[in-house]
């Protein structure tokens, strides 16, 4: 009944550093369940992150973990996967880390269709550094750097990933814990670049400034505005206003995976 998360966590690491109600912990639990479902040998599994609250996640997990430079999770993960193609490589991180400073690495890892699983926790803000706006902060919302409202249009991370060439792209929220582990499991099993965007909450640096009354308010927003892709197909654009699609948004099993292509190229060069 009660789930054994403790076997996957480094001894003495709990309680974690995340604020009360921060969704990153819910995502971490989903990731642990997915790794269990896939029976990943932790000695052959690398969890790679950049910098940010979300990027603190690998430090808690009893696996091969890499906490790297800001925005560079995809770059380091690409290196690990190229050197050890037999290893399971999972990236985790935030919207700021993955789409602002790390946007370039993110899109090029997608373009290569390298066999990584990237769990990106989108809490719409730079949480760790006190709430500067990220490329995912909704237009009009408040951040420490947009005191009159954010004038910028937003990145839709999943659409960005599909456009850049990722072959498995899915979205869920911190309020859909069972879907988190289901989608990460599918992502791990997919051969190629898998992006799982988890819409998340940051009560401290985003919620408070934007007059969400509580973390519960933020969680209800995630619950109420999620529309499964199948249901969305029957809805009008007006009905979908302000909603977001959840589930598998894109899946292509045909496109070749990068490490395999590279190995074939290596063989060709050796035989030339």
């Amino acid at each position: 009944m009660a789930y054994d998360y403790e076997s996957s966590i480094r001894p003495g690491k709990l309680p974690h550093i995340w604020c009360p109600g921060c969704g990153h912990g819910i995502v971490m639990k989903g990731l642990i369940r997915a790794m269990d479902t896939c029976e990943l040998d932790r000695k052959n599994t690398a969890i790679v992150s950049g910098i940010g609250c979300a990027s603190r996640l690998p430090g808690y997990l009893d696996a091969c973990t890499l906490h790297t430079a800001h925005g560079r999770a995809a770059a380091f993960a690409t290196g690990v996967k190229m050197a050890k193609p037999g290893m399971n490589v999972i990236c985790v991180g935030g919207d700021g880390d993955g789409t602002a400073i790390g946007g370039n690495h993110f899109i090029h890892a997608c373009r290569r269709n390298i066999d990584l699983t990237y769990v990106i926790m989108n809490n719409y803000i730079y949480g760790m550094t006190g709430g500067q706006f990220s490329p995912c902060t909704p237009t009009g919302m408040l951040a420490s750097t947009t005191p009159y409202g954010n004038p910028d249009p937003v990145f839709d991370i999943s659409k960005l990933a599909i456009g850049a060439g990722a072959t498995f792209v899915a979205r869920t929220t911190a309020m859909h814990p069972r879907q988190i582990d289901k989608l990460i499991t599918q992502g791990i099993k997919h051969k190629g670049m898998a992006i799982i965007e988890v819409l998340d909450d940051c009560p401290t640096s985003y919620g408070r400034r934007n007059k969400f009354r509580s973390v519960i308010d933020m969680m209800k927003r995630l619950k109420d505005n999620a529309v499964p892709v199948k249901a969305a197909a029957k809805m009008t654009p007006e009905q979908l206003e302000g909603k977001f699609l959840t589930g598998v948004l894109y899946h292509d099993t045909e496109l070749p995976e990068y490490c395999e292509q590279y190995e074939a190229l290596t063989k060709k060069a050796q035989n030339a």
């Binding site: 009944m1 009660a2 789930y3 998360y5 403790e6 966590i9 709990l14 309680p15 974690h16 995340w18 604020c19 009360p20 109600g21 921060c22 969704g23 990153h24 912990g25 819910i26 639990k29 911190a174 309020m175 814990p177 069972r178 509580s214 973390v215 519960i216 969680m219």
Partner: protein, 63 residues
Amino acid sequence: MSGARIEVIERNCKGCSICVEFCPKNVLEMDVFLVTAPRPEDCIKCMQCELLCPDFAIKVHDE
């Protein structure tokens, strides 16, 4: 059959009240900053509290 033993790991609980809010059977309650389970006999073991707790602080056991 309903009823369960709810374990709260006080060391980990940060009092966010997510588990209390999303329990469909009103089993849980906040005692200032800590969650308590005054009505374990009403639990239907849906596991929502355990799944949604960001802090590894609540466990639902058979019993």
